[in-house]
Every structure is written in C-alpha cells, then in structure tokens.
C-alpha cells in the first residue's frame, strides 16, 4: 500500500457565531493514499466543504491533526500554509472561480505565476494544458465567452498545470449538466492518474462514483462508512486503510 498523501486524525470543527456553537465535524479520521482518487459524499450540511477546507490547509480545525504528504500542517502559520498550498495543492471549485478579466490562457499563467514559474514557462505550460483539456482553440477567450463545461476544463488545466501532488475539488460538476459533468470528471480522473496526483473530491453526483478508487460518506459531522468501488468493501465509522 502506497504511503498516505492525506492523513487526518480526530479532526473536529466547532463554529462560533455569537453565543451559538455549531459542532460541524465531530472527530474525523481519514487517510487517502498517494495517487488515489477519493470521493467525499454526504447530505447537504454534513460538513464536506468544511472538511475539505481543513484538509487543504485553508481552515484551521478546532481539534485534531492533519498531515499532508508526510508533513504536519496543523500548527503551521498562515504564511507557511499559503506556501504549502502554493507548492503542493491544486484547486477546482464549483463555480470555477476563473478570473473574469483574464483569458483562458492568462488564468493558467496567473496560477503559474503564483507558483513562481517564469513567464516563458508559464506560457508554454498554459498552452500545453489547454491542449490536454481540449481547449487549445479557446486560449484567448474570456471566461464569459466559454460554456460551463469549458470553464471547468480551463479550471482543471489551471489546477494541474502547476503539477500539484494533491488536487482538491468541491463539487466540480454541480454547475454542469450531467453529461458535461461526466466528461469533466473523466478528464480529472485521466489527468490525475497520468500525473500521479492524489484527488479529494466532494460531490453529490452519484453518476460519477465510478471514477473513484474509494468513497467516504459523511453524515452529521462523522464518517458513516467508506467503500471501495473495486471491492465494494464497506467499513464502519472509522479509518479505512
């Protein structure tokens, strides 16, 4: 078994709004192996996005520890976390989050600029990845001139062009029709496998589960069970190694 790319231990999250406390995550243990594609599913409000944010080092949990790529990220400073994300994590969002003023190619170039790549290399990689997502002829289009599926493909190119070790995606297909959604997920699956990138993807969409190596189900802040697509193995509330 490959080493863990993502390992969470007893992660808890309590939000405080005024005097109201909301316990959103109630002790999550989760391990995702390197190169694996893991889906995170569960009902609305179960804490999927919260967990993803914590695992990506965007949100600091109120309890527990997170280890990414062998490095403990709980306790890192805001700056150190930003550097870690910049180096190792690619993001795909439900609403694509492309920069509306930038063309498809420029969106990718900007992400590479954040990763401190040279202008020439950024241009080269942007062209290369647009080609890989089948949008070479849309390089100079602004997001508003692209369809939803095309936008998400640009976002995939943007997330992967920096060669991240981990890809974090929150409902990447939610804004797309189901056929486009399936194409997009297939693209993520193929490219991630090709680059050896670990994927953690939150989704509601049952039609894309066959893209996953494993699925973790979240319910009311707890992992209800995890299942492996290949073995149909079903576990209880706990770690699946």
């Amino acid at each position: 078994m490959a080493e863990a790319a993502i390992a969470a231990k007893a992660v808890e999250m309590v939000f405080r709004t005024g005097s109201v406390e909301t316990r959103v995550l109630k002790g999550i243990d989760l391990t995702v192996s390197a190169g694996e594609i893991r889906l995170l599913m569960g009902p609305s409000g179960s804490g999927k996005t919260t967990l993803l944010s914590i695992l990506a080092g965007i949100l600091t949990p109120t309890g527990g520890r997170v280890n990414l790529l062998g490095q403990e990220i709980t306790g890192l400073s805001r700056r150190q976390l930003a550097r870690f994300r910049r180096r190792h994590i690619g993001f795909i969002f439900q609403d694509f989050n492309l920069f509306p003023a930038l063309t498809a190619a420029e969106n990718i170039e900007l992400a590479l600029k954040i990763k401190q790549r040279s202008t020439a290399e950024a241009k080269r990689l942007a062209a290369e990845y647009l080609e890989q997502v089948g949008l070479a002829d849309r390089a100079r289009h602004l997001p508003k001139d692209l369809s939803g599926g095309q936008k998400q493909r640009v976002a995939i190119a943007r997330a992967l062009a920096g060669s991240p070790k981990i890809l974090m995606a929150d409902e990447p297909t939610a804004a797309l029709d189901s056929k486009t959604g399936q194409t997009v997920v297939a693209l993520i699956q193929n490219l991630a496998k090709e680059k050896g990138c670990t994927v953690l993807m939150v989704t509601h969409d049952p039609r894309i589960t066959d893209a996953a190596d494993r699925i973790t189900h979240l319910e009311d802040g707890l992992i209800s069970h995890s299942s492996s697509w290949q073995t149909r193995e079903v576990g209880g509330n706990g770690v699946i190694g």
Binding site: T49, I58, R79, A82, R86, R87, F93, A101, E106, T119
Partner: protein
C-alpha cells in the same frame, strides 16, 4: 507576465474613466494651487536672483525685499572701505504713480541702480539698453506691464508723477505678482522720480493779485524732457535702500557680513540666499496667501485620496472572491497587495498625464491672457507626480485592509 490589476481595472472601462477624471481633477487642483503659490513666491525674488551680489546691506528693520527702511547714500562709500569688499553699488527702491499718455494711472515701484555697475540687473537687458538709461528721464519696464503702462513699444513716453519718462527698453520676468508695477531707472533718474512730489512741482509766484500757483499736473503735454534740468548726482544724505556687495574672491562671507554690520551702524547684511529665503517666507507665512493656496492643494490631495480610495475599495469588494481564490491558491500576501498597489499606480499614472497636460495648457493660457503665473517646472511636475503616487498608494491602504481580512474559505461558498 499577465497583470490581473490592469485587466481588472480596464474591465469596467466607464467606471475606470470616471475614476481617472477624478484623479485628473485632484492632480489639476494640486498643480494649480502649488503652481500659483510657487509662481507668486518665486516672482517676489526674481530681481534678487538676477543680480550677481554676494551680500545685501539694508536697514536693520528689514522685513522683506521691498519692505525695509532707507539708509543714507553716504554709507555706500563706507561700505567700500570695508575689508573684503570688492565692489559696492547702491540700489534705491521707491514708489510712485505712472500716468500713461491717455492719462491712465498706475502705481509703480521704481528701482534705481547704477547702469554702469555690475551687481544689479533688471532681467536680461543689453548693454545698449543699460547705456540708454544714463539719459535723463529714461526707464526700462517689464513686458507684463506694457498694457497697464500704455506702452506699445520702446520709445513710447509717459509720466512718472510730474516728470516725463521714455521707455528705452523692455525686459521680462522681473515683475513680482504681489507688488506694484516695476520700473527700472538709473539712480539719478529714480531719485528724481521718487522725489518728484506734488509740492516740488508746485511753483508759486507772488504776483499783483496775490499768490499765483501752478502745479505740474497742469503743465502742457508738449513740455518735454528738454525743458527740464537733467537730474543731478545723488547727495550724500539721499535715502537709498540697499548696498549691494561683491566680495573679494576667497572672502569668508559670514565674517564679511559681520564687518559690514559693525562698520555701518543700524544695518543688517544678508546673503543673496538669505534675502531670497526671508522674502519668500514672508509672503508664504506672514501673509495668508501661502496658507490659502496650500489649503487648496491639501484639499486637492484629500479629494484625490477619497476618490482613489473609493474606487479601489469598490474594486476590491467586487473582486473579493478573486482575491479569495488567489489566497486559496497560496498566493503570497506580497503578490495580493501587489495587485492593489499596481492598480493604484496605474490610476496614478493614467490620472496624472491628462491632469498635468491640462494644467500645462491652462498655465500657458493664464499667463498669456491673465498675466497669472502658474509655475510648472520639471521639478514641480515631478513633485506633483510624487504626490499623486503617494495619494494613490495611501488610498490603496484601505483596500489592502479589506483584502487582508478576506477568508480564503469563501472560495468554497457559492
């Protein structure tokens, strides 16, 4: 490399243009206010700077260049005896009234100097023009006063008080904006003009039917210079205003100043730089003019800050999700602030260029049509650019505060 700042600014072009118009307005306000302030303060010392003088000796009651008490002419001779003095020349400043040929009245400030001397120069004038000043009842005027004096060209005549005057040359860039109209003449002529009072020209005769008086005003116009005696040399007790000193090369100037003050009692000696500085400071600080114009410039800067801050803040608020995305992707703070700072700098540059061009055009127009100097030098233009940049960067501060508080977590919120 792709610039998010520039693209975000240009994306909403109409609003960007409104912002630029606002910055242009601020730039213009600052440039015009400071330009008028500088134009007028510098105009008060043009003559001082035109002269090749090391030290100016005047009354100890000196206030500014044109406001000081007279000293007797004989002290010039005393000054020449002081060790370290190479040349000493007299400068007489007085006032009077100018009557144009059409009878139009203008107050004037007359400067009497030695046309053969080397220390005082009324702007750039030729040797021939200076030579011409040796003729009785001649003067040089500044181009900017031609209209007020009713002088179309060299050779035109008028009257100063009761005496005739012929303009022998026209100079430029000498006039102080806060003074009466300048006239330059030889010491002898100037002295005659200054003392040509009402009473001096009142000639009375005791005739058969009592005292019969006639004053200069009623003199027939054709009574020209020929009929008048030429002004004679200055008497020892005639009041003059300054003794201009050129020091021997290598003389210790502060020590020479001290010697002059000690030798000629009741006087104060100033270097050229001190005279310039005290005169400007007087106009800027002791009169309200500097304050008012300065206030105008400050208002311009404040208006600019408010406009730029408002635009940047709105821009950041509208692109909050983009900043969140940048943060989520791990962009360092430096880069995120860089986007805002770059926007601010673009706004500064793009607002500055039309603003300064507008002022430049305006200053050409006001000088030509109103005689008002709005001084825009390369240095002051650069200064205003500096202020514009600082203003935009200051405004960026508020926008940066907002971005600092952006939670990258918003990227996952729909």
């Amino acid at each position: 490399m792709v610039s998010l700042a520039r693209k975000n600014l240009l994306k909403d072009l109409p609003r960007f243009l409104v912002a630029q118009a606002g910055i242009m307005f601020a730039v213009s306000l600052v440039t015009i206010q400071t330009g008028i302030l500088r134009g007028f303060t510098e105009s008060t010392t043009l003559l001082i700077e035109d002269s090749a003088t090391d030290i100016w000796v005047t009354s100890e009651n000196f206030v500014n260049f044109e406001l000081t008490e007279p000293i007797p002419y004989l002290e010039l001779a005393q000054a020449r005896q002081v060790e370290g003095v190479r040349r000493a020349e007299a400068l007489l400043i007085g006032s009077g009234r100018w009557y144009s040929d059409e009878g139009k009245l203008t107050t004037l400030r007359i400067f009497g100097f030695d046309p053969e001397g080397q220390l005082f120069r009324p702007g750039e004038v030729s040797a021939a023009s200076l030579e011409a000043l040796n003729q009785p009842y001649t003067a040089i005027i500044d181009q900017s006063n031609q209209r007020a004096f009713g002088i179309d060209q060299v050779g035109d005549t008028a009257r100063i008080r009761s005496l005739p005057v012929e303009v022998v040359s026209i100079t430029e860039e000498t006039q102080s904006l806060v003074s009466s109209k300048f006239v330059f003449a030889s010491l002898k002529n100037a002295n005659a003009y200054v003392n040509a009072g009402f009473s001096a020209e009142l000639t009375c005769q005791l005739g058969d039917n009592g005292l019969n008086c006639q004053n200069a005003y009623e003199r027939a116009p054709e009574t020209g210079a020929e009929a008048l005696p030429a002004p004679g040399p200055l008497e020892a007790d005639v009041p003059i205003t300054y003794i201009l000193i050129r020091a021997e090369p290598g003389t210790d100037i502060p020590a020479l100043k001290q010697r002059l003050e000690d030798t000629i009692t009741g006087t104060r000696a100033l270097t050229q730089a001190e005279l310039v500085e005290e005169t400007r400071a007087y106009w800027q600080e002791r009169t309200g003019i500097g304050f008012i114009l300065g206030l105008g410039a400050v208002v311009g800067i404040l208006v600019g800050i408010v406009i730029v801050a408002q635009i940047l803040y709105t821009s950041v608020s509208e692109h909050l999700k983009e900043f969140g995305t940048l943060k989520a992707m791990g962009a360092p703070d430096r880069m995120i602030y860089g986007v805002i700072v770059e926007q601010a700098l673009w706004m500064a540059v793009i607002g500055y260029i039309p603003g300064i061009s507008l002022c430049w055009g305006l200053s050409t127009w006001t000088l030509a049509s109103q005689g008002i100097i709005i001084l825009i030098t390369p240095v002051s233009a650069a200064g205003v650019f500096g202020i514009t940049v600082a203003m935009c960067l200051g405004s960026a501060f508020f926008a940066i505060q907002k971005v600092t508080r952006v939670d990258p977590g918003i990227v996952f919120k729909a």
